[in-house]
């Protein structure tokens, strides 16, 4: 999984980073956005819906920060 570290960044920066870097994984591959900004919990799934990617779910990174996992499907 490609990890995109967005700790300390505020919206819309985490989603901008996700959009920039999704192309670095193959179709079927995973990207994990680690973000401290509360809006990412809503905006990462919304980004997936709007751009046709798959939202896999939320898990915790090693330091407890939420990690939002996305599968590239196109």
């Amino acid at each position: 999984m490609l990890e995109v570290d967005c700790r300390g960044l505020v919206c819309p920066a985490p989603v901008i980073e996700l959009g920039r870097r999704i192309g670095e994984v193959e179709v079927g591959g995973l990207v994990g956005v680690v973000a401290s900004d509360a809006a990412a919990r809503i905006d990462v799934p919304a980004w997936c819906r709007m751009t046709g990617q798959e939202y896999v779910g939320e898990e915790a990174a090693d330091d407890g920060s939420p990690r939002y996992v996305v599968r590239r499907v196109s």
């Binding site: 505020v10 919206c11 819309p12 809006a39 809503i42």
Partner: protein
């Protein structure tokens, strides 16, 4: 039934007409500021000939009928309406007249109407009064997840346990998630203030199982008829072209409502504090005028908003949120991927277009809009556009001309 004619009493009250309390040397000291903000902009671009106000959902411009009524009432209705002297009776007549006109325009009884200082206060009193009135039959306040923050804060302040009812992707309350166990009151707005979706209040009323229904109608009152079968309801005059500072609380006769705040030695149950009589009359005048014209005006603004929805929906990576058909006629909300909402508002303002944003991207401590979050809608890059009485087709055309370029430029900056 003929509408009550709004009277302000043409005869001057005692003590009026002599002297001139308005002379500027009377008070001395600091001057009251009457000016507007500077139109010079940091970007240095030339302002367009006419600024375009697209935020009527926050505050509609004062209706000419309100202006006229306000000026007349200031002359005659300054005294305490509870006093028995001539000036007091003059104020009382104006107040009762405004109450009758307001009740008639809203389709309720005059003795159900209380004038308070804002929509927020009407929400607080309405919701908390129903909660208190049902204290023996329940302990919980239930509300939709997309209520105005005034409802959420009042519920929290009450100390009661609360439960939020989920909404679907359009912001419409999900009836299958409505659990009224142990509920004193269920709060369901008439329509959502951020995204415009009209709520199925009548269907909620079918599922109360003894709980009272509170309706925050601030977003729709005046523009749409009130829903039915609630116990208490809140409205706000500046949303329909009345002055700010007038909230309207309607408590149905027979509702289980007990004043949640300290008692007030006033003439009647439905009176609280010394009313802002001139503003209350202005509010009633605006409401009458708006209700009389609303069928045609709603068609006009509905078409303008449909046009905005269509064009905005065609901008890449922009999502129009809220129900496309079951909606308020005058507002639309949309979210733009990869754009900061505040930057959008600032750039549009620089170009002469005044819009609101539901996004809070400037500080990491600020929570995203709870309305957009509950819908699962993109919370950043959000803009709410609302057209009003003064908005023209040309205004909308110019807005739609500049918007795609603004979004594109802001995206290129990041």
């Amino acid at each position: 039934m003929r509408s009550p004619t709004l009277r302000t009493l043409s005869e001057p009250g005692p003590g009026l007409g002599g002297g001139s309390p308005g002379k500027s040397d009377r008070w001395g000291g600091r001057k009251v500021y009457f000016g507007g903000v500077s139109t010079e902009t940091p970007g240095g671009e030339v302002e367009p000939a006419r600024r375009v106000y697209l935020d009527s959902a926050s505050g509609e411009s004062l209706h000419p009928a309100a202006r006229q009524a306000f000026a007349a009432a200031l002359e005659t209705a300054y005294a305490d309406p509870r006093r028995l002297h001539h000036a007091g009776r003059s104020a009382r007549l104006v107040l009762d007249n405004a109450r009758a006109a307001t009740a008639e325009a809203l389709g309720v009884r005059p003795d159900e109407v209380t004038f308070v200082s804002s929509g927020t206060e009407a929400v607080h009193r309405g919701l908390l009064g129903l909660h208190r009135g049902a204290a023996r039959t329940g302990a919980r306040i239930v509300h939709t997840a997309v209520e105005h923050s005034a409802v959420l804060h009042a519920a929290t302040w009450s100390g009661a346990t609360t439960r939020a009812v989920a909404v679907d992707a359009t912001g419409r309350v999900r009836l299958d998630d409505l659990d009224v166990t142990d509920a004193t009151v269920v709060a369901c707005q008439s329509a959502n203030h951020e995204v415009g979706t009209v709520q199925p209040v009548a269907e909620v009323a079918d599922l109360l199982d003894g709980a009272s229904l509170f309706v925050d109608a601030c977003a729709s009152a005046g523009r749409l008829p009130l829903p039915e079968r609630w116990s208490a309801l809140a409205a706000s005059a500046h949303k329909w072209g009345g002055p700010p500072g007038v909230g309207i609380l309607v408590v149905r006769r027979g509702a289980r409502w007990r004043d949640p705040f300290p008692e007030d030695d006033r003439a009647a149950e439905h009176e609280r504090g010394f009313e802002n009589v001139a503003s209350v009359l202005a509010s009633a005048a605006a409401l009458q005028a708006v209700v009389a014209d609303r069928d045609a005006e709603n068609l006009r603004v509905h078409a303008l908003v449909s046009w905005i929805r269509r064009v905005v929906g065609g901008i890449p990576d922009v999502e129009v949120v809220g129900d496309p058909s079951e909606r308020l006629p005058h507002l639309v909300s949309f979210s733009c991927l990869y754009v900061d909402g505040e930057a959008l508002v600032t750039e549009l303002d620089r170009l002469g277009f005044e819009v609101a944003s539901g996004s809070a991207c400037t500080a990491s401590t600020v929570e995203p809009s709870h309305v957009l979050a509950a819908m699962g809608a993109l919370t950043h890059g959000n803009v709410r556009v609302s057209v009003g009485r003064d908005t023209t087709e040309d205004d909308v055309a110019r807005f739609l001309d500049v918007l795609p370029g603004v979004v594109e430029r802001l995206r290129a900056r990041v």
